[in-house]
């Protein structure tokens, strides 16, 4: 079945440093979604990427979808303590709006 892998598993940064998490799928995706889960909370939708090579920005967050639609990345510029949480990518292999989640990257920020 479809597998979605994320690296790194953990990332600790000083406030103000940049952060990037990478997502790779074993199969070509029709689209990919990113979610953020705060400690003790539930996943919250951030963005959906659909087109090959697509780049979308949300303030300090930049999301990319690879040309082959098998990988994606999330980059945060100048991290803040409010960015703390686990970031998940979730890939749709193209059937029935079903998402396969990666294991996530836990980001901690030292103030």
């Amino acid at each position: 079945g479809q597998q979605v892998m994320q690296i790194p598993q953990y990332q600790h940064v000083q406030e103000g440093e940049d952060f990037t998490t990478y997502c790779n799928s074993s199969t070509t995706l029709s689209n990919i979604q990113w979610y953020k889960q705060r400690p003790g909370g539930h996943p919250v939708f951030l963005i959906q990427l659909v087109k090959s090579g697509e780049v979308k920005k949300q303030k300090r967050l930049t999301f990319q979808f690879g040309e082959a639609k098998k990988n994606s990345s999330l980059h945060i510029t100048a991290t803040q303590t409010t960015d703390v949480g686990t970031y998940f990518c979730a890939g749709d292999g193209g059937s029935n709006y079903k998402l396969t989640f990666g294991k996530g990257t836990l980001l901690t920020v030292n103030p």
């Binding site: 979604q33 539930h42 029935n96 709006y97 079903k98 989640f101 294991k103």
Partner: protein
């Protein structure tokens, strides 16, 4: 707009007991998902409903887990009998499939501890 509601928020049971979780999705959302999230891992899809029909239950341990969505609105997920490895957070999510966007809205989850 009210979010996805789940109850109970916490449940502690002994192994071999049964437990049931309830979910009320966002009004108008036809698609409902149940996920199992084990500590330190991403959500794993257990079952997906479209209205009151099952779309995908390939990862549902059917010997002990069951789910239903009567009338295409509320849903219940049951575990009988529970095993220690069922300790996890059970998340319900719903989505409104429109065009090519279908972000999922998650409820607060039910944290299950099996002792």
């Amino acid at each position: 707009e009210a979010g996805v509601a789940q109850s109970p928020r916490y449940k502690i049971i002994e192994k071999r007991q049964s437990v049931a979780f309830w979910c009320n999705p966002i009004s108008g959302h036809a698609t409902l998902y149940w996920y199992q999230q084990i500590l330190g891992q991403g959500p794993k899809l257990l079952i997906q409903f479209q209205n009151n029909g099952v779309v995908d239950d390939s990862q549902l341990p059917k010997d002990r887990f069951s789910a239903e969505r009567l009338k295409g609105v509320d849903s219940t997920l049951k575990i009988q009998p529970a095993k220690l490895e069922d300790s996890a957070v059970y998340l319900c999510a719903s989505s409104l499939v429109a065009d090519r966007r279908y972000e999922q809205y998650f409820g607060p989850g039910t944290r299950l501890t099996v002792t």
